[in-house]
Amino acid sequence: MSKANREPLIHITKRKEMDWKQAWIIRVISIVCALIVCALVTMVMTGQDPLSIFGAILEGAFGTERKLWILGKETAVLLCVSVAMAPAFRMKFWNLGGEGQMLIGAWLTAACMIYLGGKVPSVVIILISLIGAIAIGAVWAGIPAFFKAKWNTNEVLFTLMMNYVAIQLVAYYIIIWENPKGSFNVGIINQSTRDGWLPYIGSFQYLLNILVVAAVTVLMYVYLQYSKHGYEIAVVGESQSTARYVGIKVDRVIIRTLLVSGGICGLCGFLMVAGTDHTITTTLAGGRGFLGILVAWLAQFNSLAMVLVSLLLCVMSRGAGEISTDYGLNQSFGDILTGIILFFIIGSEFFINYRINVRGSDKVIKEAKSAGPEGGLH
């Protein structure tokens, strides 16, 4: 057989549909591979054996009751952002503005706490800042959505730039609010009066946040799966022309969905300032706006998967934090491990969507098929 006519060594075909069990086995294998690579990288950096590295990661994430609560808080924040991203994403609208939407919600909450503190009851401050944070987050996402719907403006860059507008706005107010002067730091707001602080449930400071995020996650699941809006979002995401054909007002759906998405980000900012941090910095979001998109994508809009992926990433980053503290390394170590895990899970999607046929293995199947009926006749 001449070389040109030979069947290629590797031939890739698209899979029709893979059953979810097999898909999850592939995903779990990819996570295990990622963890092995993470351990190897850590080994090179610290010179420790892999078992003690995993020990340190688990210690850092679950070691004490306090660490457990911090893990819960961090997971709740990441989960909240991913839940916010899910509807926009399902519509194939790239909302890279999660950072800014969180930050602007946080900014409004901080502003309410500072300007209303001591003037009205704490409950009123909480209510005003809650509504305000959701509204301003929604507006922050709604502006790019409006231009996308009207003039098909590039939403990737628009939402991205809105982040920096929010960051600079917050930087401006941090200088105005700074306490003490010249520190570029707002400090704990209303430390003595606790005006505008969310109440603790029992003695647990972080529990309320976790519960709120859990409720939002469930509501979003119901919204996407069972509501008319959720259906419209899915149709617009699959094909805008189909959506128009069946009478869905595409621009209205785009704007409405982004208002929801931004509103939840704003809520997340509110929870962080009023619930846990009680202060505001420009790095409050800390890259979670972007990470949330990846979580939503990796989980394929499956709410339970979103919880698991958020938890996995938070465990790894908390654990990496512990390792970096132990060995005097930089805290960004966690970002490297997060990146490795993400690349592996992202790469595994290929094996879920495509089948690899190696030359030869195909022939065996063909022969078996052609032999099959004859064998049955005899």
């Binding site: 105005i176 998109i293 060995y327 805290q331 170590f333 490297i336 990146g339």
Partner: protein, 329 residues
């Protein structure tokens, strides 16, 4: 008073990293790959150059020679950015994963690598210097022509930069020429516009996409190198590079995928970035923070305007962001 002759050179120096990033991203986008990992790639390029220079300075023991001082960081930077380019290519071209997702993950990863090695390099190599200050290698990067300071205003505006700045401009001009006037450029654009047609015409899609993404990443990585070794005089500070990578991506749209326009576009953006230093604000420190918003607001306005005008020749490559699978119909 607004000092224009002090302002322009600083705007250009600010613009050079953006120009590198923008040229690299343009090449990549022309082949249909929207690489949102450019900010990460630029961090990796910068830190790889720093690692190369750091190891060289440590081993040279004060006896730093011109050629290795430039070659080692340069090669380290190119190698690091190439690896990032390959990572993006393997995931998006061979494994056909969504480009935005890979790009975002690469940015998280790349910035993490930059900050991690920037913060831990001294600890990892076990040396006893207090911080990473590569002044002797950096001196070679920022060396200007000997007569630059004796030629008055012309020298100050045109000749007072390190060699990488001129490299950036030359690369942008060559890229513009190759994309517009050569066969390779034509085929590259065909791959980005309609890969199925290009494939039918016998163009090797995979090869073009790999080459465009990897070369694009290497050029973008130089932007990081220029920033640390020349602009920052060899001092690595975590997160100092900031969001220049995102601005470089925005600049691609601003310049409508034309690297020759990007030369002036990047200087303009560089100027917007430092305008706050030149506008007198008196004692109001806070207002400066609002002026820093300018480049982003301008980008938004440009985005809206290009979206509204909707001219045919100003559109992105048609298959930008889409993976190509021959059997997919």
């Amino acid at each position: 008073m607004f000092d224009l002759f002090a302002f322009i050179p600083r705007a250009i120096v600010q613009g050079i990293p953006l120009l590198f990033g923008c040229t690299g991203e343009t090449i990549s986008e022309k082949a249909g790959s929207l690489n949102l990992g450019i900010p990460g790639v630029m961090y990796v390029g910068g830190i790889c150059g720093v690692i190369g220079a750091f190891l060289y300075e440590q081993s040279a023991d004060g006896n730093v020679q011109a050629f290795p001082a430039i070659a080692i960081p340069l090669l380290a930077c190119l190698a690091g950015s190439l690896l990032m380019g390959l990572l993006f290519s393997v995931l998006t071209i061979t494994l056909r994963v969504n480009q935005n997702v890979v790009g975002l993950a690469m940015t998280t990863f790349g910035v993490g690598i930059g900050n991690f090695f920037g913060g831990s390099l001294i600890k990892l190599t076990g040396s006893d210097v207090p911080s990473i200050i590569l002044s002797s290698t950096s001196a070679y990067f920022s060396k200007t022509l000997p007569f630059a300071h004796s030629t008055g205003i012309f020298g100050k505006l045109v000749l007072s930069y390190g060699f990488l700045a001129y490299v950036a401009v030359i690369i942008a001009i060559i890229t513009a020429y190759v994309l517009k006037r050569t066969r390779v450029g034509l085929q590259l654009r065909a791959v980005g516009e309609n890969p199925a047609t290009a494939d039918a015409a016998g163009v090797n899609i995979t090869k073009y996409k790999y080459m465009a993404t990897c070369i694009g990443c290497m050029i973008a990585g130089l932007g990081g190198l220029y920033y640390v070794m020349d602009y920052a005089s060899g001092v690595w500070t975590n997160d100092a590079f900031g969001d220049r990578g995102w601005l470089a991506i925005a600049l691609v749209i601003f310049t409508l995928w034309r690297p020759n326009v990007a030369i002036f576009g990047s200087f303009l953006f560089g100027g917007l970035c430092i305008l706050y230093l030149f506008i007198p604000t008196g004692t109001e420190m806070a207002v400066k923070e609002l002026y820093k918003m300018l480049p982003y607001v301008v980008t938004i306005i440009v985005l809206i305007l290009t979206g509204m005008r909707n001219k045919r020749e100003n559109q992105p490559p048609e298959s930008l962001g889409l993976p190509y699978f021959r059997e997919d119909r």
